[in-house]
C-alpha cells in the first residue's frame, strides 16, 4: 500500500514534468523550475540486517549527498532501490491468478445455492406467468447455468490446488532466484527517504503469502539515488550487497528491562525466603487498609450490605488480579461477621474468578453454607450501562460500605458520588493515574497506585507476602539512587552512563 501510493506520487511528478514540457508553447504562465545540475551522490552506503527484529528487514545507512542542505541544496529526497529478479514477477502472476481463482470459486459457491433455490421456485409454479414465458424460459436458463457451474467448480478447485502448490514451490525458490544477480533482474524502487535523512529500513512482511513478503537468508542488493525536484536529474550511489536478513534470538535494545526484571525477581525471592524463615518485618500502617476492617464491622452493626466493585478491567489486568486477592480477604471477614456482600461484575471471566475467590473465602471462614452463587453476578460489558446498574443497586440496597478496587475509567466519579449520596463509607484503590483525583475527592479513603498492590499483603498479614513488599521498597530505593546518579551524570555531560538505561525498541 505504502509503495503503491509512493508510485502514484512518483507518477504525478512525472506526469507533471511531461505536461510542463509539452505545454512549452502555451501562452499561460509556465513553470520555471530552474535548470538543476546533477547532485552529488550519497557516500558510505552500508546495508545490514535490521537489528532486534524478527527478520524480513534490511537497514541502510549512508552519508548525505553534498548537495543536501548544503552546496546547491538541490536534493529533495532519496530513493532506495533493491535489485529484484524477474522471478518475483512470475511469483506475482501466480499470486494474481490464485486470487482470481479463489474469487471465482467463492462467486460460484454463493451463486449455486441461490440459483437452485430459484429453480425450485420456478418449477413449483405450474403455470408460469405470461411475461416470463415470452421473454425467457427461466427454468431452462437456470438448469443450464447450474449444470455449467457444477462442471466448472471442480475444475477451478483443481486449478486452485495446483496454483497453491506452485506458489509454495515458488516462495521456497526466492533465495535461489536472487543468486543470479546481476542477470535476470532489475532495480526497483522500494522506498523514499526525505532530504536530511541518512537511513532507511526496508521492511518486508513475514507472512509468506503476502505480496510484500521479504524472504530471510536471501542475498539482497541495494542502491540509493539522490533525487532533485526534477526526478530525471539524480545521482546513483554505489551498490551494496549481498546482504541477508534474519531474525534475532535476543533483543539487545531491551537489556535494561531484562536486568531490571532479573534483579527484581531475585530481590523478591530473597525476601520471601527470608520471611519464610521467620524474620520480623515491619510495615507502616495504611489508613485505607485499616478502614477496611472498621467498614465491615460498621456494615454488620447497621445490618446493611457491602458493595465490592472490581472495576472495568479484565482478568488480564494486574490491577484486577490484585483486587481479587483483596476481595478474598474482605469476603472472608464478611463471612465471619455474617454480613451481606454484593459483587456486580463487568467481565464474565472476572465474574468467574471472583466467584471462586468468594466461595473459597466462605469455606475458609468455616461458613460454606452461607455462600450462594449470586453474591457475585454479571451485569453487562458496556461501561455506562454497568454504571447505570451499579448506581441503581447503590440507591436501592443502600450499602454501608462501597469498595472500588481495580481498574477504573471515567465512571469512577459517577460511582463514587452516587455512593456518597447513598451515605456509604467509601474505600477506593486504582492504578489508573487519571482517575485517582476523583477517588481522592469523592471517597473517604483511597489507596493510591502502588498501595492497591500492597493491600492484599497488608490484609493477609502473612510474612511471605510482606516479604515481597520489602523487595518493592528496595527496588524503589534503587530507582531513587539511579535517578540521582543520572541527574549528576547529565549535569556532567556523561551521557554514556545515562544511555545504559535507555530502552530502545
Amino acid at each position: 500500500m505504502k509503495h503503491k501510493s509512493l508510485v502514484i506520487l512518483l507518477f504525478i511528478f512525472c506526469a507533471f514534468t511531461l505536461s510542463a514540457a509539452q505545454e512549452d508553447a502555451a501562452p499561460v504562465d509556465t513553470v520555471q523550475v530552474d535548470s538543476i545540475l546533477p547532485p552529488a551522490p550519497v557516500s558510505m552506503l552500508t546495508a545490514k540486517d535490521g537489528e532486534n527484529d524478527h527478520g524480513h528487514s534490511i537497514t541502510l545507512r549512508w552519508e548525505l549527498s553534498a548537495d543536501d542542505g548544503a552546496g546547491q541544496n538541490s536534493v529533495l529526497s532519496y530513493e532506495i532501490f533493491r535489485w529484484v529478479p524477474f522471478f518475483m514477477d512470475t511469483l506475482q502472476s501466480i499470486q494474481d491468478s490464485l486470487e482470481q481463482t479463489e474469487a471465482y470459486i467463492a462467486e460460484l459457491r454463493t451463486f449455486l445455492p441461490r440459483a437452485e433455490k430459484r429453480l425450485k421456485e420456478y418449477r413449483k409454479r405450474k403455470k408460469p406467468k405470461l411475461v416470463i414465458v415470452i421473454f425467457v424460459d427461466s427454468t431452462q436458463f437456470y438448469e443450464d447455468t447450474i449444470a455449467a457451474s457444477k462442471r466448472l467448480l471442480p475444475e477451478y478447485e483443481e486449478q486452485l490446488k495446483q496454483l497453491r502448490q506452485w506458489r509454495k514451490q515458488a516462495i521456497d525458490e526466492i533465495p535461489q532466484a536472487h543468486t543470479s544477480y546481476p542477470e535476470q533482474g532489475e532495480w526497483r524502487k522500494v522506498g523514499t527517504a526525505l532530504s536530511g535523512q541518512a537511513n532507511f529500513k526496508d521492511v518486508g512482511v513475514k507472512e509468506r503469502k503476502s505480496h510484500d513478503y521479504m524472504a530471510d537468508h536471501t542475498d539482497y542488493y541495494y542502491r540509493v539515488d539522490a533525487v532533485t525536484a526534477d526526478p530525471a536529474i539524480r545521482a546513483s550511489s554505489e551498490i551494496v550487497g549481498p546482504v541477508q536478513s534474519y531474525g534475532q534470538l535476543f533483543n539487545t535494545g531491551r537489556i535494561p528491562v531484562f536486568v531490571a526484571v532479573l534483579v527484581f525477581c531475585l530481590l523478591t525471592i530473597l525476601f520471601v525466603t527470608r520471611a519464610r524463615r521467620g524474620a520480623e518485618l515491619y510495615v507502616r500502617p495504611l489508613a485505607g487498609i485499616e478502614a477496611v476492617d472498621d467498614a465491615i464491622g460498621r456494615a454488620t452493626e447497621m445490618g446493611k450490605p457491602i458493595l465490592y466493585v472490581l472495576g472495568l478491567g479484565t482478568a488480564a489486568d494486574i490491577g484486577t488480579i490484585a483486587s481479587f486477592t483483596i476481595l478474598g480477604r474482605v469476603a472472608k471477614r464478611v463471612a465471619e461477621y455474617q454480613t451481606k456482600l454484593i459483587v456486580p461484575c463487568y467481565d464474565p471471566i472476572v465474574m468467574t474468578v471472583a466467584q471462586e475467590t468468594v466461595k473459597a473465602a466462605y469455606l475458609d471462614a468455616g461458613r460454606p453454607d452461607d455462600y450462594y452463587e449470586d453474591i457475585v453476578y454479571f451485569v453487562t460489558q458496556s461501561q455506562f450501562a454497568y454504571v447505570a446498574a451499579v448506581n441503581g443497586t447503590m440507591l436501592r440496597e443502600l450499602p454501608a460500605t462501597n469498595m472500588y478496587m481495580g481498574v477504573f475509567f471515567a465512571e469512577s466519579l459517577i460511582l463514587a458520588e452516587t455512593g456518597a449520596l447513598a451515605g456509604s463509607i467509601q474505600i477506593a484503590g486504582t492504578d489508573q493515574v487519571a482517575q485517582l483525583p476523583f477517588f481522592i475527592v469523592a471517597c473517604d479513603y483511597t489507596l493510591i497506585g502502588e498501595e492497591l498492590y500492597a493491600a492484599s499483603a497488608y490484609l493477609g498479614r502473612e510474612p511471605i507476602l510482606l516479604g515481597s513488599l520489602k523487595a518493592q521498597d528496595y527496588a524503589k530505593a534503587a530507582v531513587i539512587i539511579l535517578a540521582a546518579l543520572g541527574l549528576l551524570a547529565a549535569s556532567l555531560d556523561w551521557t554514556a552512563f545515562i544511555n545504559l538505561f535507555s530502552v530502545t525498541s
Partner: protein, 219 residues
Amino acid sequence: MRRQIPLALVFIFGVFMIFQYFVPHESSEWIYEFLLDWIYIIGIFALALGIWSLIRVSVAKIKARKANWGYPIITIAGLFLMILFGFTGYRDGSLGFHFMTAEGLSNPMFRNFFDYILIPIQSTMFALLAFFIASAAYRAFRARNVLASLLLVAALVVMLRFNPYMGPIGPYVADAASWLLNVPNLAAKRAIIIGIGLGMVATALKIILGIERGYMGKG
C-alpha cells in the same frame, strides 16, 4: 491435582511469556500471537457464563416478587430481542437467520436499538459527570487541613485559568495554572507511575511463583 495443575500452568505460561518479550524471533512471535488468541477465545466462551448469570439473577428477582420485580422483565426482553435482531438480517431481500455472516449487524432494528436506546442512555450517563464533578468539588473541597487545602487551591487555580474576570492578575493565574499542570502534576504522575509499575511487576511475579493464590481460592 485440582490445585497443583493450575499452579503449574500459571508458572509455565508466565515464565514463557516473560522470556518471549526478549526474543524477537519469528517463532516466538507466532506463539505470542497464538496465545493472545487463546485469551480472546476463552473470554468469548466465558460470556455465556455471564449471560447465564444475568438471566438467573433477573429471573430470581421476578420469581421472588419483591420490590421492583417487574423491571428485570425489561432487561430479559432487551437481551433476547437484541440477540434475535443480531442473528437475523436481510440477504437477497429476504429476512432470515444468519449465524456465520454478519447480516445481523445491519439489521435496521439492531441499528435502531443501538442508536436510540444504547447511545442516548450511555452518553447521558457520561454527561452526569458534569454534575457530579460539581457536587464532588462542593462537598469535598474544604480547607480542613494542609493536604485538603493544597488540593483545593491547585484545583481552583487551574479552573480559573481561562477566566476573563480576573482583571490584572489574570495572566499570573494562567501562568500559575500551566506551571501546576506541567511541574508538580508531572512529578506526581512520575512517582505514581513508577510505584504502580513496581507493584504490578511484584504482583505478577507473586502470581507466577505461586506465592499469591487469592485469585483461585487461597491455599
